[in-house]
């Protein structure tokens, strides 16, 4: 199973700043390993962010996103204590869901 994400969510004025670190190899499918074999593509394709029960961001990603991806978003209308739920699904169907509360 995939390792947990690290979600930091914090109010800055009336905007919630959400930063997500994901543990993922993000293999492009173009890289060769030490033995000279092509490492198969393995990368996150879908990302969703929900704040306070509402879907706020829906994203799709390709192989150009760096290994162990980092994303940052901003959401208006959220408040401290609201739950942030982040989801990802990769091209092999592996998935991960993590959540955090927005800090004041």
């Amino acid at each position: 199973m995939a390792d947990p994400m690290k979600i930091r969510a914090q109010m800055k004025g009336d905007v919630a700043e959400v930063r997500v670190l994901m543990a993922h190899a993000m293999e492009t499918g173009q890289r060769k390993d030490n033995a000279g074999n092509l490492v198969p593509a393995h990368f996150i394709q879908q990302v969703t962010v929900e704040v306070g029960g509402k879907l706020v961001i829906q994203g799709q990603t390709g192989t150009s996103v760096s290994r162990n991806p980092v994303f940052a978003f901003k959401v208006k209308g959220a408040k401290a204590g609201d739950k942030v739920v982040v989801n990802w699904v990769d091209n092999k169907g592996d998935k991960r869901t993590d959540e955090a509360a927005i800090a004041a």
Partner: protein, 157 residues
């Protein structure tokens, strides 16, 4: 993911604004399923083909779309890119790396208070123009671009 799918579908049914926003975005709402990842756009090998797949061929440059990226990347494997849209009613932002084998790097739809800003880190195989594409609720597309130089580095600090 099942929960998300249900929630999205429910949300789309329940709130007209969300449904409209997502339907008008770069991603079709049904594409929340992994199997419906926008293959045509992500597997396009040239930026014009990506733009075409996103329906953004007729885009124009806008000063209100900011693209922040280094002039010279410290390491092409991790290039920080931030896109901020000050264009009213921006509902989607996509990021492209022209010279990568598959230029489309990421695309995001915003709804329910999400600010049209996105910060990502991208791989650049070589010096390349990085492009941001923003879509507004009325179906117009705007672009911004910046060249990022990728150099060979030293011994790793």
């Amino acid at each position: 993911m099942d929960t998300m799918r249900r929630q999205l579908l429910k949300g789309a049914g329940a709130t007209g604004a969300l449904a409209a926003a997502l339907a008008a975005g770069l991603l079709k709402p049904t594409q929340v399923l992994a199997s419906e990842w926008n293959r045509t756009a992500f597997e396009a090998k040239e930026s014009p083909a990506v733009l075409k797949a996103l329906g953004a061929s007729g885009s124009s440059d806008s000063k209100d779309l900011q693209l922040k990226a280094p002039e010279i990347a410290e390491n092409g494997a991790v290039v920080p890119v931030e896109v901020i849209s000050n264009i009213p009613n921006t509902i989607s932002i996509a990021v492209l790396v022209d010279k990568n084998p598959f230029p489309l790097s990421a695309a995001f739809d915003f709804a329910n208070g999400a600010v049209p800003e996105i910060s990502v880190r991208l791989k650049l195989g070589q010096t390349s123009v990085v492009k941001a594409v923003a879509k507004t609720a009325d179906g117009k597309f705007y672009t911004a671009q910046k060249e990022v130089k990728v150099t060979v580095g030293g011994c790793g600090g």
